[in-house]
Symmetry: C2
């Protein structure tokens, strides 16, 4: 059995029209071996990292240039064939699935870093460049790209889901770090959405029209991104707390004091158990905060000291610092492996992630109530997240063959989303809507806002060819 919560059953494959034969032969002529209808290629492009069931496209095109993307979009528009942009498939909300069939547009071959301007703190990349690739190519320049959603996603995919992650509390999300984009619109026009100026008041914010639009309004083919100076000094720290509330209070005080913390992550005691088991560490199995501080030597030391004082005031124990790169890496490795460590707590299980974000004043209350929900179900659930932004995840471990697991996961997800929305928060802080969160959109934004989104979609993509079945509720 599949998770019913996300298997909407709205797009039975049998109802999908096949690719028109004329279009098929044009694709073969245009792309040769870079067009495929092979089962394994289609399977690889019809699934992501989520528990959403596979939904295969009818074919996959591997594009190598903006002009090729424009060709594909124009033809899909002409033949009314759905087109789904694809990076590396690390989405967790079904963004790359093909509920209506159609073509998957693989952009991973567009992986050139086109320009690095250290003097302007920006770089221009093709959409298929991954974040780790970009940072490798930036080595030695003194600059880096900070957004880190965990997976080594493509920057095009990260822009499309408005990704963020551990560093967002200091450096912002993709919303703040995309300066401009090259986008192919649903009718095949190539649009440049902005200049390299740090700021501009010259007309509508086309850049942010496409950032977070999940490929439903256009295909991002290039991005100009903000870079940040590699800090002179970095230090990491870890601190265990008697309970989640004390940890969260420390977070709130840190943010309110304006300490420019670079990372501040909460892991609950279940996550620490999983981490210890997975990484053979001996961290206290208690609610724990992981910190990272960036700045000058003096500033980093001051930030860490201030934070330590706040932590102690809230009962934090054994505040450990690490300034040497290898010690810092060791500390953060535990955090980075948390997802996989949790997954191993339920062999054969799958992860059903939640992703709410609330105003930070409600965070303690939100987590507290969520923990009461967790106590009511039998499935194992880990809680961790980017608490400096008010964003946390539940890693709900389910056996997708077990209806009770699935029902419990569904119940928890609904509860946590409803609570976050009631607290003036959001159903998704960074994962995106995809297929899984569409049903919450109206609850969060209200009917007029969703009607406006629908109007924008209908206006820009009247044939509904770009990533249909995502974001906009049916």
């Amino acid at each position: 059995m599949r998770l019913p919560i996300i298997d909407h059953g709205l797009f039975p494959r049998s109802h999908r029209p096949p690719l028109p034969s004329e279009f098929l032969s044009q694709l073969k002529t245009q792309f040769g071996p870079r067009f495929s209808q092979g089962d394994s290629v289609r399977l690889q492009h019809g699934r992501d990292e989520s528990v959403h069931p596979e939904m295969l496209p009818d074919g996959v095109v591997f594009a190598q240039s903006t002009e090729e993307v424009a060709w594909v979009v124009r033809h899909c528009n002409q033949y009314r064939v759905p087109l789904i942009p694809f990076g590396v498939g690390s989405s967790v909300e079904g963004h790359v699935l093909a509920p209506h069939g159609g073509l998957s547009l693989d952009l991973s071959g567009m992986n050139q870093v086109l320009a690095v301007h250290p003097e302007d703190l920006d770089a221009t990349v093709q959409a298929g460049v991954t974040r780790l690739q970009l940072n490798r190519e930036l080595k030695g320049t003194g600059f880096f790209f900070p957004i880190d959603p965990g997976a080594d996603a493509t920057l095009g995919g990260m822009a499309s889901t408005r990704a963020s992650g551990t560093n967002a509390v200091r450096y912002g999300t993709m919303r703040e770090n995309v300066l401009a984009a090259t986008v192919v619109t649903p009718t095949g026009e190539i649009v440049k959405t902005g200049s390299r100026a740090r700021k501009s008041s010259a007309g509508y914010d086309l850049t942010r029209l496409f950032v977070g639009a999940e490929g439903t309004l256009g295909v991002i083919t290039e991005l100009t991104l903000r870079l940040h100076p590699v800090p002179e000094a970095m230090s990491a720290a870890v601190c265990a707390f008697p309970d989640v509330d004390s940890a969260v209070q420390t977070v709130i005080q840190t943010i309110q004091m304006g300490i420019p913390v670079a990372r501040i992550e909460l892991l609950d005691s279940f996550t620490l158990q999983a981490v210890n088991r997975h990484s053979h560490t001996e961290l206290p199995e208690a609610p724990t905060l992981f910190f990272e501080f960036h700045g000058s030597e003096a500033s980093v030391e001051e930030q860490a000291q201030l934070t330590q004082e706040l932590a102690s005031g809230n009962g934090g124990q054994g505040f450990q610092w690490a300034t040497r790169p290898e010690d810092r890496s060791r500390l953060w490795e535990a955090r980075h492996q948390a997802y996989f460590a949790c997954l191993q707590m339920k062999p054969g299980g799958k992860v059903f992630p939640t992703d709410v974000c609330v105003p930070i004043s409600r965070l303690a209350e939100c987590i507290h109530a969520t923990n009461q929900d967790i106590a009511q179900v039998s499935i194992p659930i880990a809680l961790f997240g980017h608490v400096g932004d008010g964003n946390f995840h539940l890693v709900v471990l389910v056996d997708t063959q077990n209806p009770k697991d699935v029902a419990e996961a569904q119940w928890i997800n609904e509860r946590v989303v409803e609570r976050a929305i009631a607290m003036e928060g959001t159903c998704t802080g960074e994962h995106g809507v995809g297929m899984g969160k569409r049903k919450f959109l109206e609850r969060e934004h209200g009917a007029p806002a969703v009607a406006l989104m629908r109007q924008l979609k209908a206006c820009l993509d009247p044939a509904n060819i770009l990533n249909p079945g995502k974001i906009i509720p049916d």
Copy 2:
């Protein structure tokens, strides 16, 4: 004679239809004395701080609630009457003028701070609240709203022009500091564009669709804004340089080193002359940088020391610090009065401002070439700006009755805009497009991007009632 460059002559008043009599009587019934057709009220709402000629609306409505705004918008839509949102009229690009006549919608009565959440670092205000009013109401909370465009503009107006100013290098622009808005769409729907979550991936970025749209896509009636902690310590500094290049090199190095400077402003020697004459100061009449540093005591001292070293390395002389509030204010007063000081250098003259922004690596070259242009004209021109962002203004002083002045101003403006665009910059860093920059939009963004903007406008406002004649070129 009026400045021909901005007196497009495209909308002769004689061609404007009068307000339909049925609508007139509805307005009188609905708003009583809060609807006016008096000459002085219409004049006050038909001009701004720019050299654009007055273009009067046919009437002015003083709204007091979002619901009233929605009523006005719905009726304007029904009767096809242009509607121009109005705050305090501090625009410098003709945003509030009524080239097509119609109604001016005065939002200055919507001046309630609706909620302050210090614990979440946000506040919700009505659109007519000004930035100084908000900061007065925030006194004692430990938080402030940093965006400072100079004028005490309304926050609705600042959001609509994507304003920024002296603090943007550290705190961002209105683009980064608006969390959510309540907007009345051109058909009269009330839309909430976001939650109070610090970040969200839940659908299209409706907030930034309206930020910078200059009231052409909707009327912003409420805003949820990011607040920032009042820094523990602030210090200001001023330093004169042998030439503009040396000052700009100091700016570039400061930004590239990641020194989190809060303000970094360049004033050229002409501006310093004007400031000395106006404020009876005795600052060296040389290219000068004004700095402000925010942070902890230790951090502020470190920032100032690092910056002083950079300045000295570039020939900066007499680096003066000020940490006491009164000394800091005195230093910055000179900067804040620069605009009026320059205006006094040409009695009876008017200011024609330019507002380009370029990647910082091109800034020295851009200013150098601009100074060569300035040397070729006879009118006095001051240069200053927010150089940490690559944004600078020319304050071109013209006698609007003198055709030679006007022609020279026009020539300089074209030159500086073309140069900025050629350098991958923008024609307007913070003033907005309004009426004055429409002709540059396609040059900057390209035809497909402008076509997309036009498409968005036509989709959301098919009757073209909201602020017609702004942003979108004819």
